[in-house]
Amino acid sequence: MNATPLFPEWRGRDLDGILHAAIELLENTDFPTVKRWRESGGKVVGHFQVYFPEEIAHAAGMLPFKMRGAPIKPRQADSRFGSYLCSILKTSLELALSNRVPLELFVTHPICDAARNLAGVFGRNFPYPCQILYLPQNATSPAAREYLRGEYDRVRELCGEIAGREVTDERLRAAIGVFDRNRALLRELYAIKRGTPWLVAAHEAYALTAIAGLVPREEHNELLEAVLPLLRARGTHPQDRVRVVFEGGFCEQPPFELIRSIGRSCYVVDDDFLIGLRWLLEDVGTQGDPLDALADAYLNRSSYSPVQHDPRKLKEAMLLERVRGANAQAVILAAAKMCEPGLEEQVAYVHALDEAKLPYFVTEFEENMTSFDTLEIQLETFVENLLFV
């Protein structure tokens, strides 16, 4: 890992100062941490949504950078795409084309019909390897685990070649250790959201989580280790707000401002924002074959999203579990504009919530949205109805 921290701005500051620095970093579309990493000679793996086994890149000494688009204009990328597509594809390519985020390797996944195409699109535009990592869509097949392990092995070889450093089991185990710690800290952050949501606003929790995709995980661990006790000790008091689950942030991310404005009228007690960073629900463990352990965790100890098929995870049942687990009163069902899997799942969610007699608010978003007035008014009306009936 890099000796000099990539994100020093939060250090030595109080809670508000730390949160301020975290939000500033998140909103900076020049991605300064990636720049600093490269300036010190580091290489970068850009991995598209939703889940990527970042431990492998980390063990190779590369920075796994979460490609999740950005609120920027896709000036050059626009001509690479036709109409009827979600924004995250375009802005993710723009990050690379505009040299904001130069990469040594790009990896996408068959999460949807659009995202898989990115391997071809990136590959035609950049000389470095641009690949698809096939994560199993037949998760309950007894053959899936060995197959996934093989896929991870392929990524391990590739990262090793690019980084010029062998990705040994030892290094992988060390990386898993760092990431297990990170998962535990993120679980703690979400426990605060669920249990005492007045201690951390939705957008603050979002920023704290998202930084995991921008810095080496050791640094993210240090940040969370500093912040979580401060949040717990925060003197804010509960208010009369509706407890909601936000569903629909698994891939394209809603604008940060939208999350902030939801947080003004609701407590977002759970969500699927950047779910790939929290995909593995338990420790992977540093014993045994590390790639097999990662594969097993992906298949058997993981969260859910509309883009993974697993008969054990009926998505609407998983959502209801999320709602109950967080003791939420209502759901905000969102989907990115033009997002096929998100929009399809919305229909199933709506039916399930109707059946469960749980109130919900349906909306679409786009990362480049700038006006939230109408949405805010609609949401307020929704919330008032819930509070006053």
Partner: protein
Amino acid sequence: MDQTPEVDGIVGRGNREGARLFRLWFDGLGAAAEEGRDGAYVFVMGSLGELLTAFDLPMVFPEINSLQTAVRRQAHEYLNEAEDIGYSPDICGYVKADVATQRRGGMLPMGRVPKPAIAVLTNACNTYIKWAEIWERMYHMPTYVLDIPASRQDGHPVHRGAPGFERDRRYVAAQLRELIGLLETTTGKAFDVDRLREAMGHANSMSRSWKRVIELNRSRPSLFNALSDGTIYLGVCNGFRGQEAGARYFEELVEELEHKRAHGIGTLVDEKFRLVFVGVPCYPIFRRFTELFSEHGGTFVNSTYLWFASGGTNLGFEYDLKDPIESLAEGVLVGCSDAMDSMFFQTRALDSIIGEFAVDGVIYHPIKSCRTTSTGLADNRRALMELRDVPSLFIESDMMDRRVVSEAQLKNRIDAFFEGLQSRRQQTAAGIS
């Protein structure tokens, strides 16, 4: 420009016979529905017709059903019905037309299709998976996602000898064995390997002929239109995979095309421009869409559609019948992977088509409904133009939704494209380049 008149019994037989077989297939489905026999719901990329035939399951292709609603100009009714219950205007129209079909008890303009006893699908299109999840909720029947790894990177196709190929093949073979178990439970029939062998033999013959059909269109003039005639061929290729009738159809089609070639009979009387089509056709105005090109003497000599919608049959892959399951795994893997390559990494394929088929222009037709085939097309066009000095046209519409199909606009763009082709040809003839 008129189509070539029929000069004897053999010319036009493929289209006539294709329509008859299609009707026959559909009547069979109608009979199954009436008798309360359920079918196997499958998709064109990796349909596994060989295996399902061996279990006597009537095969239902919801994609083909949906496109039929568009060709018969009734798609809007189906789309509206699905949108009324919450499906977004921005998702695949095939899915929506099918949702409405299921709500209508399988009723389609062509007749009725049975309910699913099982759905077998691949990940060649991710929408297949979301689609099958809808059926799972409607019918609570088994579905099997045959997870097929494909090329990971452009220029690294999946084939024997490629690194990791054996690992991929093992994964697919293991899944096939699971699927066979599931089919036995679902149908109550024991698996008969000899029936599978027989079906695979027919599929071999079909693949051989289908490959030849495509090759034959290198002839000048071209022998069939990859868009209009090609879609009929694809219907048989999918609906009769693994069946004797399908194998025979393609043998006879080769015969017809050889005959046309020997006699210099083209698909157009006066072929002026040879084109390649990239994407999915425009079904709401299907016939007219082809005419917009043929009126200028343009014909489609090949298309990526013939490649991906035949699930890789175009490769001519032949199974080793001595080792059916392992070989079926290899064939499905290679075929589906090729289908996916022709959607995601098509530059090389187009480059070779342009050379081998003496192509004058490339038509890109990305559609609203289908991100699988459309997402990368603008970029592909840019890359192909850098590689090859060949004119291209980029027109967007849909294969289902007539709200985004503007015939007048398409016509303007297509007319202008042909003007460009014409003047380019004149300049070349005059030695100006």
